[in-house]
């Protein structure tokens, strides 16, 4: 049962990932990216990490995808999208073939290395799930990694301010406001 769901989710994610890369329309790319993010979330649930799975779906499939949709709509370039398919098909450049070969080579070497390693794996600890696991996560997050947690908080604040500063309009006469950026 677990095997079947793993293969199903894996195929779902690989297909959505490929469609993200090969879709011509940015909207379609973003849609398939949301599907891929949902697949990642399901995978985390399968890996006995329900908290990370829930956060993944909330942040990525929810917030990041919404932001992407906003940006795609804000930066829509008229008269460009229909032309791109033929344009792209005619010009499958040497660089694209080269990067495809590069990625395939990287994938091949990664997979062959991963197949050679014998990991010393352990079985799941029976009591360590649900609330016990969440208590473990909080103990780590607010104990051993409390300083890193604060630093990440500062980073998010800095990114927030930076995004607002970057995307705001200087003159009010300009039509679109930059407030939607974050």
């Amino acid at each position: 049962m677990s095997d079947i769901s793993f293969w199903g989710i894996a195929a779902f994610m690989v297909v959505s990932g490929l469609l993200v890369v090969f879709s011509q329309s940015l909207f379609r790319s973003a849609f398939f990216l949301a599907l891929a993010f949902t697949g990642f979330g399901m995978l985390y649930f399968m890996l006995d990490a329900p908290l990370v799975g829930a956060i993944q779906i909330l942040i990525y499939a929810g917030a990041v995808t919404m932001l992407l949709m906003f940006v795609i709509m804000l930066t829509r370039q008229e008269g460009r999208a229909p032309r791109r398919l033929g344009e792209l098909l005619r010009s499958i450049t040497a660089f694209q073939l080269f990067s495809g070969a590069l990625c395939a080579a990287l994938l091949f070497s990664l997979v062959s290395q991963l197949g050679a390693v014998r990991w010393r794996t352990a079985d799941a600890v029976p009591g360590f799930e649900g609330t016990a696991q969440q208590a473990g996560i909080s103990a780590l997050l607010f104990g051993q990694f409390a300083f890193a947690f604060e630093v990440v908080g500062m980073l998010l604040l800095a990114a927030l301010i930076g995004a607002v500063v970057l995307a705001r309009t200087d003159d009010a006469a300009d039509g679109d406001t930059g407030g939607e950026a974050r």
């Binding site: 677990s2 095997d3 894996a10 994610m13 990932g17 993200v20 940015l26 790319s29 973003a30 990216l33 891929a36 990642f40 995978l43 985390y44 890996l47 990490a49 908290l51 990370v52 956060i55 993944q56 942040i59 990041v64 992407l68 940006v71 795609i72 804000l74 930066t75 370039q77 660089f95 694209q96 990067s99 495809g100 590069l102 990625c103 395939a104 990287l106 994938l107 990664l110 991963l114 197949g115 390693v117 990991w119 794996t121 352990a122 799941a124 360590f128 696991q133 473990g136 996560i137 780590l140 990694f145 998010l156 800095a158 930076g162 995004a163 607002v164 970057l166 995307a167 950026a181 974050r182």
Partner: protein, 102 residues
């Protein structure tokens, strides 16, 4: 039986898909999508190691939470840059950005 290697190989596959997109796509927005795909592929490894190597602790899950937070920060700033680029040059192609250096 599904083991650690399966998850790692899946992560590697998705990472390479994202890398290919990063190399070949032109629009800056789709570059960010591919970067997010690569971040998530790395996250699978962290959670899978956490589950299979140290199941008695949630270390890898905490790391993956940090990765999610940092990629969210990166994404926010990147999207702001894309909006700025569009406003200045009316295009979001990444090769347009090479003109920004002056």
């Amino acid at each position: 039986m599904i083991g650690l290697t399966h998850y790692l190989v899946l992560g590697a596959v998705i990472f390479c898909i994202g890398l290919f997109g990063l190399l070949t796509r032109r629009s800056a927005v789709s570059l960010y999508m591919c970067i997010e795909l690569m971040f998530n592929a790395a996250n699978i490894n962290l959670v899978a190691f956490s589950r299979y190597i140290v199941p008695q602790s949630a270390l890898g899950q905490v790391f993956s939470l940090f990765v999610i937070a940092i990629s969210a920060a990166e994404f926010g700033v990147g999207i702001a840059i894309v909006i700025l680029m569009f406003r200045r040059m009316r295009k979001t192609d990444a090769d347009v950005a090479s003109r920004m250096g002056g």
